[in-house]
């Protein structure tokens, strides 16, 4: 029983990070109907911003850690908006496939520019937050794990609030529903899309810091696997749906952890993804997604 709870905790803290990255995929898809493959690399850049910013603040202090987190989120938001402005906006009226290929191009550009600037060798991420482990009824908790889960939960709630309770959120939903009609109603589509990219990338930045805190070895290709998993999590939860992305991330992280902790650990990714395929067979639009038929 104890082992079960411990694995559940491990799974949730891994899933919380997948969820944060998945939110970025889902938001961009919700507004622009395309998958921003460069998102996983913005996540990597977030870790590296944290790596350099982490040297400026004293190690193991709460304020220092939060400052690094904020710097990474702001840095990634700016990067996300820059990518949108330079790579995607010129293709606004082009077929989705062109944008998709551009996204893959931007992803590779970030990865290999990262190798030029940061080098391909892994680096050790500093312990920017105070770290402690304690035992609760035989269960071992680390402050990092709790921090990851709490920050992810707070960010998901904040995101829900922004999308459903603020003016810019209403504009986002309007653009998502019908960009032309939204523009006619006086919504500045460019500002809304830019904001969406900024917000999604800020979440990727936060994800990058949280991931590096738990797994303190970072390199320019670190975004590839978590990005792929988060993308799957977004599809699993129903792409375009914010609580769905969070749920998908948590589910994927938990399933993966339980398989990895069993005697079939060799096949952990295979089994985790098979379960996802089965879920999608029964719910093609994802767990919380709604199936919409397109009119021809």
């Amino acid at each position: 029983m104890n082992e079960f709870l411990q694995q559940l905790l491990n799974g949730l803290s891994l899933g919380a990070i997948y969820a944060l990255i998945a939110l970025g995929y889902t938001m961009v898809y919700g507004v622009l109907r395309f998958i921003n493959f460069a998102h996983a690399d913005v996540f990597m850049v977030g870790s590296f911003i944290g790596y350099y910013a982490g040297r400026l603040v004293p190690e193991g202090t709460l304020w220092g850690g939060l400052a690094v987190l904020c710097i990474a989120m702001i840095g990634c938001a700016l990067l996300g908006m820059l990518i949108e402005r330079l790579a995607y906006r010129p293709l606004r009226n082009a077929p989705t496939l062109n944008v998709l290929i551009t996204a893959i191009g931007v992803s590779l550009l970030l990865e290999y520019t990262g190798q030029v600037f940061f080098g391909a060798a892994p680096r050790t991420f500093p312990a920017i937050f105070p770290m402690q482990t304690f035992t609760v009824g035989g269960l071992i908790l680390s402050t990092n794990q709790i921090f990851v889960i709490v920050v992810s939960a707070l960010l998901v709630v904040a995101l829900q609030f922004i999308v459903h309770r603020t003016k810019i959120g209403t504009a986002m939903r309007a653009v998502s529903l019908n960009p032309k009609a939204a523009a006619l109603m006086g919504v500045n589509n460019n500002v809304v899309i830019s904001f969406t990219f900024g917000l999604g990338s800020a979440l990727a930045g936060a994800g990058g810091i949280l991931y590096a805190l738990n797994y303190p070895s970072i390199d320019p290709l670190m975004g590839v696997m978590p990005g792929l998993k988060a993308f799957t999590a977004a599809i699993l939860g129903g792409i375009g749906n914010i609580p769905g992305a969070a749920l998908g991330g948590l589910l994927l992280g938990t399933v993966e952890t339980f398989v990895a902790g069993s005697e079939w650990s060799t096949y952990k990714d295979a089994i985790a993804f098979t379960i996802l395929i089965i879920i999608l067979l029964f719910r093609p639009a994802g767990l919380l997604g709604r199936l919409t038929t397109e009119k021809v």
């Binding site: 104890n2 082992e3 411990q6 694995q7 491990n10 799974g11 891994l14 190798q115 080098g119 391909a120 060798a121 892994p122 050790t124 482990t133 035992t135 071992i140 680390s142 991931y211 738990n214 797994y215 303190p216 070895s217 390199d219 670190m222 696997m225 993966e256 952890t257 339980f258 398989v259 990895a260 902790g261 069993s262 005697e263 650990s265 060799t266 952990k268 990714d269």
Partner: protein, 367 residues
């Protein structure tokens, strides 16, 4: 510089000197290995050239970086053989990548010496493939005996990588010896190269209540595994192989790697005259850096090759091959290199522990 030498070689391959190719992971996940090995090899080549070269000709080393990635080494080997016209290949450290370049070298009949790939299948590729280090059946036995006799561990868990030939082989030989000696392995877990999260596997290992954990893998993962094991409250020692040997193990692992043990090829603290002289020369050449096992083996691989070319009296592939196969008690930094019928070297292993953030020599085990 290297490119210019390479181009010069294209026009007149033989007249200007002897071209030697090296494939190393200079960047990427196992960069510490590639860098150390390369520095050792380069030092040996420079010394040989300073002493007048081999067969009256200077040696030129062309190094290709495979970025620690799968799928790059075969291409690099083809390029070195067809464009740079190398007479022999040195590399790689990781067994998986040596296995990629070995068939290319074998097909072109270019002798290849791996400085430190320990998986037996590397030299089984063909009669042109050699190595100057011990192999995993020996390393696995050393660690199994160490766990059983020195640590008095009755139950050991094994956590190995599924995607590296080195890890799979070492885990297998460790298990064989340990089980034959009456040890119990209640749990065995797997991970893949590039994984960052090992808590699931470690939680399962913790539940099995073992006396030690054997982690035959490379330092990046090993350091994270040690760290996460300590976070989960696992206090038993972790054991590893020569894949652990890198300063990054301590850098990433911090206090979590204290009290761990691993086996390797050589220790700079092993006070023999050959080792002391090598450490002095290496430090003078590379800013006071202390050479690790990969550096020592990289150095020895180049010396063994030069020795074979001298004895062959020619740079023809088949003649170098025959001379290499006849290498008998060549004394290098990592001990005597005796190439056996399987083109492997029988050598002794040393056991190292981490104490106060430093690697400490524990003992030497002869084959």
């Amino acid at each position: 510089m290297i490119a210019i030498l390479g181009l010069a070689a294209c026009s007149k391959p033989q007249a200007e000197g002897i071209q030697i190719g090296e494939i190393a992971s200079l960047t990427g996940k196992e960069a510490a290995f590639g860098q150390a090995s390369h520095k050792g090899t380069l030092l040996a080549i420079e010394e040989l050239n300073a002493a007048g070269g081999v067969l009256g000709q200077q040696l030129y080393l062309t190094t290709e970086d495979n970025q620690s990635k799968a799928g790059e080494s075969a291409t690099a080997a083809r390029k070195l053989i067809s464009r740079t016209k190398v007479v022999a290949l040195l590399g790689e450290v990781a067994s998986s990548r040596s296995l990629e370049m070995a068939p290319v070298a074998q097909a072109a009949k270019i002798p290849m010496i791996s400085p430190s790939s320990t998986n037996p299948s590397v030299t089984e590729t063909g009669d042109y493939i050699f190595r100057v280090c011990f192999i995993d059946p020996f390393q696995g036995t050393v660690m199994a005996k160490f766990a059983k006799d020195t640590l008095k561990a009755k139950k050991v868990a094994v956590l190995s990588s599924v995607s590296s030939a080195y890890s799979v082989g070492l885990a297998k030989y460790f298990k064989e010896t340990y089980l034959a000696d009456g040890g119990v392995i209640p749990v065995e877990q797997k991970y893949a190269e590039g994984d960052k999260d090992f808590k699931a596997q470690l939680t399962a290992i913790k539940a099995a209540n073992v006396d030690a954990i054997f982690v035959p893998g490379y330092y990046t993962e090993a350091a994270l595994i040690c760290k996460q094991a300590r976070e989960l409250g696992i206090t038993v020692p972790l054991l590893g192989g020569d894949g652990w040997e890198a300063p990054q193990l301590i850098e990433i692992g911090g206090t979590a790697v204290e009290g761990s043990f691993y086996s390797t090829h050589y220790s700079p603290e092993n006070k023999t005259p050959a080792v002391e002289e090598f450490v002095k020369k290496f430090q003078a050449r590379w800013d006071g850096q202390i050479p690790d096992a990969m550096a020592a083996l990289g150095y020895d691989s180049a010396l063994v090759l030069a020795d074979a070319i001298k004895r062959a009296g020619s740079t023809e592939g088949s003649k170098i091959r025959d001379a290499l196969a006849a290498t008998d008690a060549f004394v290098g930094v990592t001990g005597r290199t005796q190439i056996d019928a399987g083109r492997n070297a029988a050598k002794s292993a040393v056991i190292i522990t981490v104490e106060n953030g430093q690697f400490k020599f524990v003992g030497e085990v002869s084959p």
